[in-house]
């Protein structure tokens, strides 16, 4: 098992690529940089495939457990050990293949998309670094190493959002993403500390094995596990852009489009879902935390979908769509269908990467224009992009037999079956599905159909080069077939994807069973009808002479994203800035810190100025000081002898 024994190769290759390009690439021609970037990710993908093959066909049949290998000790303190331990199990297999596979495709695409941009080497250095950290994140066998990847991808996200750092909005968006994530990470770290206190270890296997023996908390009971889970979930809301910390993701669209596709759609933002699924043992022991996850996921799904309905910017629509789809994944995790959540994670990474890359191709064709109201009628001009985007749209909307149909269906089905208001969750999820359908077809119509709303003399619409369209086609194919693993479940057969993940999630998965097949089929049909409703409404509204509507009432609220940014600005950012400026800066910093430092300096100076007069340069005055000093010392030495016994002492001295 050559690669499986050396799992570190998979993350190390992109790191090497990043280091070479980052340190040496500045003066190189683009084709060298392309070679290094694609070579490292491609090799990493190949290694991942081989490792997965070895795991699934050699290791797992013999051992029936996750492959865990410690490579070296990282932190050892007392009983605590956090090592560079990598782990491969069925869940990781899915994640590693998605990260390296989709990542590789997006790298290929980026070589075309970024070909004429400055900072080509820098871009690929960051992108490879991101791959490294993301692979560390999914391969980690303990929470500490996972956190390294978690923070690392946050760093790369920051760097890439702010890639065009000369543009203030991009730099601000990068900072926003970083700071909002920091809030979530605070919770994540507290959760880790709590787990360490409870279990004395942060290795997945130890923690989960010990947690499994605990008595589950009751609903509404805030035991250690529930609080730890809620804190971990707080980290997930930051990283995966859930309410109330989703605000950074739409702004993150300031980055180049391949970045939006790779980091802010396909991989990094799903890290929270992965982490929750990875910790499913903990979450299964705290129904309260599960319920919170389900509600937050469901609320985010509908919330972001409604904002997406009216956005004019093609990438913003997709960004809110991503937030909404991540909500679906959390909904799945919250109702205990971790397999369905990971399934949707996988299919989503295919079709959302496809959608973003297609949007990038459209923007490329339009010469940088992102406003859909300045597009229209592009279908005949950029055919490949159009068909790929249509595939992605059908997949996300959930028409059979595309991938989204199966994964979204599995989530809604699981939500419908869950206890504690599952019907309500299902209803909201279904409504969000209608909205999804609406905003996606709105995007299609505004972009590809209708009249031209741009100046043909200024915009030369052209199809993108092969390096961009080929990954699109591959992703389109994956968006079509990616869900078929679960297809037989519809007519009573096995759900191959769920079965594949069963060794990880065990009994956590609510088994569908024969009796509910008809229910699942019914719900699927309902979901398709819902999607059709969205399609028809979008068609009615935008197929004709579409015009930018006047913004009033509800539309205005949605257009302004429920004023959440303004709310945060007023409630959190504003007071914080005021407090920082008027208290921490002007009082604490200037008054107390600078004041004490400067005060000490001034005091020393004044003292020196006073005392320097003793340094007269006159030898005899020095002698006087010496004498005074000697007298003082004598006085101190003889002090006990002086007081009442003075004469006695002297007379004894006389002898």
């Amino acid at each position: 098992m050559p690669i499986l024994e050396h799992l570190w190769i998979i993350p190390l290759l992109p790191l090497l690529g990043s280091a070479i390009n980052g340190l040496l690439g500045a003066k190189w021609p683009n084709k060298f940089i392309t070679g290094i970037a694609l070579g490292s990710t491609g090799l990493s993908f190949a290694c991942a495939l081989e490792a997965v093959r070895e795991f699934l066909f050699v290791y797992y049949p013999a051992n029936h457990q996750a492959f865990v290998k410690p490579f070296f000790d990282w932190i050892v303190a007392g009983n605590f050990r956090a090592g560079f331990d990598l782990q491969l199990d069925q869940l990781t297999v899915v994640m590693v293949l998605v990260v390296t596979g989709v990542g590789f495709l997006i790298h290929i695409y980026a070589t075309g998309y970024m070909a004429h941009e400055g900072g080509y080497y820098r871009f690929f250095s960051y992108l490879n670094l991101f791959m490294f950290f993301m692979l560390i994140l999914v391969l980690a066998a303990n929470f500490v190493l996972l956190f390294v990847g978690w923070e690392g991808v946050g760093l790369c996200s920051y760097l890439l959002i702010g890639f065009y750092f000369l543009r203030k909005s991009a730099a601000d968006a990068g900072k926003k993403a970083f700071i909002v994530n920091r809030i979530g990470d605070f919770g994540f770290m507290l959760g880790m500390f709590l787990l360490f206190r409870a279990f004395g270890s942060l290795d997945f296997q130890t923690v989960f094995a010990k947690a499994a023996t605990w008595q589950p908390d009751a609903m509404g009971q805030f035991g250690t596990l529930t609080i730890a889970c809620l804190l971990l979930f707080m980290g997930a809301t930051g990283k995966s852009a859930q309410l109330p910390l989703y605000v950074w993701l739409p702004d993150a669209m300031e980055g180049p489009t391949p970045v939006s596709a790779l980091i802010h759609a396909a991989t990094m933002v799903t890290a929270g879902v992965y982490m929750v699924a990875r910790s499913h043992v903990l979450f299964m022991h705290s129904p309260t935390a599960m319920y919170v996850v389900a509600i937050v996921g469901c609320a985010t799904a509908i919330f972001a979908a409604t904002i997406g309905l009216v956005q004019p910017d093609i990438k913003k629509v997709l960004a809110y769509s991503t937030v909404s789809q991540l909500g679906y994944m959390f909904l799945a995790c919250g109702v205990g269908a971790f397999g369905a959540g990971i399934f949707h994670l996988m299919t989503h990474s295919f079709f959302k990467a496809l959608l973003f890359l297609s949007a990038g191709s459209v923007i490329h064709a339009m010469g940088g224009q992102q406003d859909m109201w300045h597009m229209g009628g592009l279908a005949s001009k950029i055919k490949v992009t159009f068909w790929c985007m249509l595939f992605g749209t059908i997949a996300i909307v959930g028409f059979a037999p595309f991938a989204g149909f199966f994964s979204k269906d599995a989530i809604l089905f699981a939500a419908y079956q869950s206890e504690n208001g599952g019907k309500a969750l299902y209803g909201v999820g279904l409504l969000a599905a209608i909205f999804t359908s609406f905003y996606m077809f709105r995007l299609i119509w505004l972009t590809f159909f209708g009249e031209k709303r741009y100046d043909e003399h200024q915009v030369h619409v052209h199809e993108s080069p092969g390096s961009m369209t080929v990954p699109l086609m591959i992703l389109a194919l994956l968006s079509l077939v990616g869900g078929w693993l679960a297809a037989p479940a519809l007519w009573g057969g096995p759900n191959y994807f769920a079965d594949f993940l069963a060794p990880v999630f065990g009994n956590a998965e609510a088994a569908g069973g024969e009796a509910t097949n008809s229910l699942e089929l019914t719900l699927s049909i309902v979901a398709v009808i819902a999607a059709t409703v969205g399609l028809i409404v979008a068609w009615r509204m935008y197929s004709g002479k579409a015009a930018r509507g006047t913004s009033t009432g509800l539309h205005k609220i949605l257009y302004n994203k429920y004023y959440v940014d303004e709310l945060y600005q007023a409630v959190i950012v504003g007071p914080l800035v005021w407090l920082s400026q008027n208290v921490f800066w002007k009082v604490v910093d200037v008054g107390m810190i600078d004041g004490s430092v400067n005060g000490i300096a001034h005091g020393t100076e004044a003292l020196g100025d006073t005392v320097r007069h003793t340094q007269s340069g006159n030898v005899r005055s020095y002698a006087v000081w010496v004498i005074i000093g000697a007298l003082v010392i004598l006085a101190i030495i003889f002090w006990p002898l002086w007081r009442p016994t003075f004469f006695v002492a002297t007379s004894r001295g006389v002898r």
Binding site: Q615, G617, N618, V619, R620, A623
Partner: protein, 100 residues
């Protein structure tokens, strides 16, 4: 046998005279002599104690003091000569270049 404290009182008087001379006189040569006076006052105390305790340590110490005082006199007189040549004065109050 003269009691030891007589010697000590004499020594203290000589030492005090040395201090007074050192502090109040201005001539460098006089200061130098004052220092010698103080050194010899201390020597006297050493010898007195040596005698009274019956140990040779104090006398050995006196020899050391004399040697050091001789060396000091050699160096000090050299300095005095140079000072006198450069300043045309032996007044210590005018030798204050180290003043801030």
């Amino acid at each position: 046998m003269v009691p030891t404290n007589y010697y000590l009182i004499l020594s203290a008087i000589l030492f005090g005279l040395g201090i007074v001379a050192f502090v109040f006189k201005r001539n460098i040569i006089t200061l130098f002599m004052a220092i010698e006076l103080m050194l010899n006052a201390v020597n006297l105390a050493f010898v007195a104690f040596s005698q009274s305790l019956g140990k040779p340590d104090g006398e050995v110490f006196v020899l050391f003091v004399i040697v050091v005082a001789a060396a000091e006199a050699a160096v000090g007189l050299g300095i005095i000569i140079l000072t006198a040549r450069n300043r045309h004065s032996l007044n210590v109050e005018r030798v204050d270049l180290l003043k801030l």
